[in-house]
């Protein structure tokens, strides 16, 4: 067997030869004959009534073939965009979703809301003509914040949602939690804001839509994390074309982080317009457009109480969260502050009583949806800030308080739906403490003090839920789809293998890790395995990649299909080698009869299967199997992060001295790639903690709509990271995989905030909201 390609080996990525050579093919790299360009006319107002649209001048402009508005879109029967996860409020009412047309009809509800699309022969002509579209806006009062949106008499954004309230949802036992708080020896209270972020994958969203009149068939190249879901939504819900008349291709995609899950207005309009105008339509967002159209992330305001008994055991946790949804309900938005957030509020701790209620609020801002971590970063931030604050108020070491309350026996049923299957929280805490040299911290702090700097150390012990998710379970919680994954393994007559997967890679390296799993199974060279994804005409169906599900769910589907291939290959080999099937093992690229020197090479099995001259009686020719894998539970990656910082009290500048990540992701297929996933997650979490925030003014104008204004983490903002993994295998899937894609972004913000507050603890600083910019830190120090 080629030992360099087995599961667990740090195999170099096969896709990198292409991607480092400029041979990647991203959506904007595709061009077709007759291609035209779409440019969107967007509302400059956060809230306005559209009294009329005069397209005359634009239609007469050079190169323009069409200018379409929302009434034409609706007139063609194109359905509204929607949120696909139903949430029921405390009072039993269904969530209140306002109508969202891909092009606004009567009202614009945020700055950037698409009102018209111009289709022209060049980008410049489309852009110039868009300037000539005369939209008669009647400005309306705006609610840019949740506070303004929920105030008495606030302007209404959608008639369907009185008071701008989408739902008021709850989970847990209110009475028992209140009783725990009432009888507590100590109650710790905290108020937090989880700052609004812009995902910012480096490739902006793009679409190239083509209509084949002869076949009455549409093809869309687009920047999607889940092309089959895009096709499903566009067919079944938007009624653009039935699924067999619509092909969605997501080629190389330059990052997603959640923002490319959703089915947006622009891609939808391009497909519709390509058929209507009878020209191929291309649209590529510029970055400023991405800032005002890509779904934002986070944006919670939370207040919470945690109860402790006299021995510092947690007895109750009560949480209220207000979640900003922006102006429309994006595809998965409703699930983020509910089933992806409140179900994780037990953290790594035994908490017998938990109650959380969540109010989801419309505002005149860009829609908010899942962004790397999606609900779990908000839960982790709350719990881990709370634990650190509690340790301070109880006068105990923050690591000891955590360790004392750790869940140590599994499976563990939390009071908030999730049942943790396995974990070892002491191991990751201790590994992180060792790597951070916690025992040497006092000396380092003294050295910092000697040069006028403040040094602090902060912990974060996170748990999250990946591998979304058992279809029946999420269905019972309101999901509109099942969250299984599919795979097809095609062994060719020469023994090479194509694996068709419903997962989608937009940086995760599936072409490498998935091929490792296949090569490992049969002991064949990795370069004989090809991973095919991202094309609805090639892959039968798939749910795509998000929520760190591709390992736990996508690879499990491949594993299941490989089981079937292996079983059939053994039947063929046993027949040809005149041996018992039970005596056949497939390893090192051959089927061997155990205890003999008889064998059939892998390609000989493939050839025999297709030549079919001599197969066991009743066995079909060919060697191709498919599988659908539906998980039995979420998976629960967990770990401990430690940040050590030095703060300059004169300037408020934070210098990250050390950042440790000790993670339990279950089985690691490729440590090189897992390490990279952690690094990237940490950078986004550190970005949230120190640099990033989407800001609106009180009129709903975005203040941070370019890289000039929104502070992205740069190379000189970040340190080298010290990462390690500690495997406890997930019992719920065949390879024991938990998932690694989001942990870094989930676990890191509280570690950093805790470290900064630790550094400034003797200066009377008890609270700083993210992002901890020098201005904020300086202001906190100086009152």
């Amino acid at each position: 067997m080629p030992k360099d390609s087995v599961i667990g080996a740090p195999v170099k990525r096969v896709e990198d030869v292409r991607l480092t050579s400029g041979k990647g093919r991203y959506t904007d790299d595709f061009n077709v004959a007759g291609q035209h360009y779409a440019h969107f006319v967007r509302s400059p107002h956060a809230h306005a009534k559209i009294n009329g649209i005069d397209k005359t001048a634009a239609l007469a402009a050079p190169g323009v073939v069409a200018v379409y508005d929302g009434n034409e879109l609706v007139g063609d029967g194109i359905g509204n965009l929607f949120c696909g996860w139903g949430i029921t409020s405390k009072d039993g009412e269904a969530m209140k979703m306002g109508a969202w047309s891909a092009l606004a009809t009567s009202h614009a509800r945020y700055v950037g809301d698409a009102v018209c699309v111009v289709i022209a022969d060049t980008k410049a002509n489309a852009k110039n003509a868009a300037e000539l579209v005369d939209v008669d806006y009647e400005e309306l009062p705006t609610v840019a914040t949740m506070e303004a949106a929920t105030a008495a008499g606030a302007p209404q954004i959608h008639p369907e949602a009185p008071g701008n309230l989408i739902y008021d949802w709850e989970i847990g036992d209110l009475g028992a939690t209140d009783a725990a708080i009432a009888s507590a020896a100590k109650v710790v209270e905290i108020d937090l804001t989880n700052n609004r972020l812009v995902p910012n994958p480096m490739e902006p969203r793009a679409a190239l839509a083509q209509y084949d009149e002869a076949e009455d068939h549409l093809t869309l190249h687009t920047t999607s994390q889940n092309p089959h879901v895009a096709r499903l939504v566009m067919s079944a819900f938007f009624q653009i074309a039935p699924e067999h008349k619509l092909r969605v291709i997501a080629p190389d995609v330059g990052g997603g982080f959640g923002s490319k899950i959703y089915i947006y207005p622009e891609e939808t309009v391009c497909v519709w317009a390509a058929r209507k105008a009878r020209v191929p339509v291309k649209w590529t967002a510029d970055r400023s457009e991405a800032f005002i159209t890509d779904a934002h992330g986070r944006d919670h305001i939370t207040t919470a109480k945690m109860a402790f008994d006299a021995d510092n055991n947690i007895t109750g946790f009560k949480v209220n969260t207000k979640a900003n949804f922006g102006a429309y309900m994006s595809l998965f938005s409703s699930a983020v502050p509910t089933y992806l957030y409140a179900t994780l509020l037990s953290g790594q701790y035994k908490i017998p009583n938990i109650y959380c209620d969540v109010q989801a609020v419309y505002t005149n801002t860009v829609p908010v949806d899942a962004y790397r971590g999606a609900g779990r970063p908000e839960a982790c931030y709350l719990i881990e800030r709370m634990m650190e604050k509690a340790a301070g108020e109880l006068g105990v070491d923050p690591a000891d308080l955590r360790a004392q309350n750790f869940i140590t026996e599994f499976p563990y049923q939390t009071p908030v739906i999730m049942a943790y299957d396995t974990g070892d929280f002491h191991t990751t805490l201790n590994a992180a403490k060792d790597a951070a040299d916690v025992s040497g911290f006092a000396a380092r702090k003294a050295a910092s003090e000697a040069k006028g700097k403040k040094r602090g150390l902060g912990y974060s012990c996170y748990i999250e839920a990946c591998g979304i998710a058992p279809s029946a379970a999420v269905g019972s919680l309101g999901a509109g789809v099942g969250l299984w994954e599919s795979a097809e393994v095609r062994v060719n007559p020469v023994g090479t293998i194509e694996v068709l997967t419903g997962s989608h890679s937009h940086g995760q390296g599936h072409a490498t890790t998935f091929a490792q799993v296949v090569a490992d199974r049969f002991g064949i060279p990795m370069d004989t395995v090809k991973i095919v994804h991202g094309d609805t005409d090639k892959v039968q169906f798939g749910m795509g990649t998000y929520g760190s599900r591709s390992g736990a769910v996508g690879i499990s589907a491949i594993h299941k299909a490989l089981d079937k291939v292996e079983a059939k290959a053994k039947k063929i080999a046993a027949h040809l080698l005149e041996a018992s099937e039970a005596d056949i093992v497939i390893e090192d690229g051959a089927a061997k009869v155990q205890g003999t020197d008889k064998q059939l090479l892998w390609h000989e099995i493939g050839l025999a299967a297709y030549v079919a001259h001599n197969l066991p009686e009743g066995l079909e020719p060919g060697l191709k199997e498919s599988a659908f894998y539906d998980p039995t539970n979420f998976t629960f990656p967990a770990g401990c992060y430690i940040a050590e910082v030095e703060v300059d009290p004169e300037t408020g500048v934070i210098d990250i001295q050390n950042f440790i990540a000790a993670d339990d992701f279950g089985r690691v297929i490729n440590p090189l790639i897992v390490g990279g996933q952690v690094h990237g997650g940490l950078a986004q979490g550190i970005g949230q903690a120190m640099l990033e925030q989407a800001v609106y003014d009180e009129d709903g104008q975005p203040i941070t709509a370019s890289y000039m204004d929104y502070c992205m983490p740069r190379a000189d903002d970040l340190p080298m990271f010290k990462v390690s993994t500690h495997e406890t295998l997930c019992p719920g899937n065949p390879l024991g995989i938990k998932g690694c894609g989001e942990a870094g972004a989930i676990g890191s913000p509280p570690a950093l905030v805790n470290a900064v507050l630790d550094a400034l603890s003797d200066m009377g600083v008890k609270h700083i909201d993210m992002p901890m910019t020098p201005t904020r830190v300086w202001a906190a120090i100086n009152g």
Binding site: T20, G22, D286, H679, Y707
Partner: protein, 154 residues
């Protein structure tokens, strides 16, 4: 429209362009070299970095017409003569210095200019040099390692 000619990756090229055409548009849309990417519209992200007469420039911030007669190198021109990956490209693969790959061409072109100016940069010098190149995937950790490895390989 006017004709603009330059030498790109050693080959003479020429195309009719409007005066406002940017170098990155010229390369991507006229010459068909799509390895150079556009990630922003404020000259911040560096996905479009190429070399013009040996110096790294952001191709979104220079007019094609201003490059008349220039020697331009893009990511497509960074491989070895035999087609194998060049030193920096190989170092990025060896050290998992890329994930989605969208910023990678700009990163490599920028790093190449750093290494021709400073053959053995410190970690701090690498990080400061990359201030104009944004990556959202890697946290820069493995990009720094890749550039260090390329420097060590000479």
């Amino acid at each position: 429209m006017s004709s603009v000619s330059m030498v790109v990756n050693g080959k003479s090229v020429s195309a009719e362009v409007e005066g406002r055409t940017l170098l990155v548009e010229y390369l991507r849309e006229k010459i068909g070299l799509t390895g150079t990417h556009v990630g922003c519209d404020t000259s911040q992200c560096g996905a479009c970095v190429v070399h013009v007469n040996g110096e790294s420039v952001k191709a979104c911030s220079v007019l094609a017409a201003a490059c008349e007669g220039a020697e331009v190198t893009t990511i497509e021109g960074m491989a070895n003569a035999d087609g194998s990956l060049g030193t920096l490209q190989q170092a990025f693969q060896d050290n998992h210095g890329l994930q989605c790959g969208f910023c990678t061409p700009g990163m490599i072109m920028s790093a190449a200019d750093l290494l021709q100016k400073n053959a053995n940069p410190s970690e701090t010098e690498i990080r400061e040099w990359l201030e104009g190149n944004i990556c959202r995937c890697t946290g820069y950790h493995n990009i720094v390692k890749s550039i260090q490895a390329a420097a060590a390989a000479g």
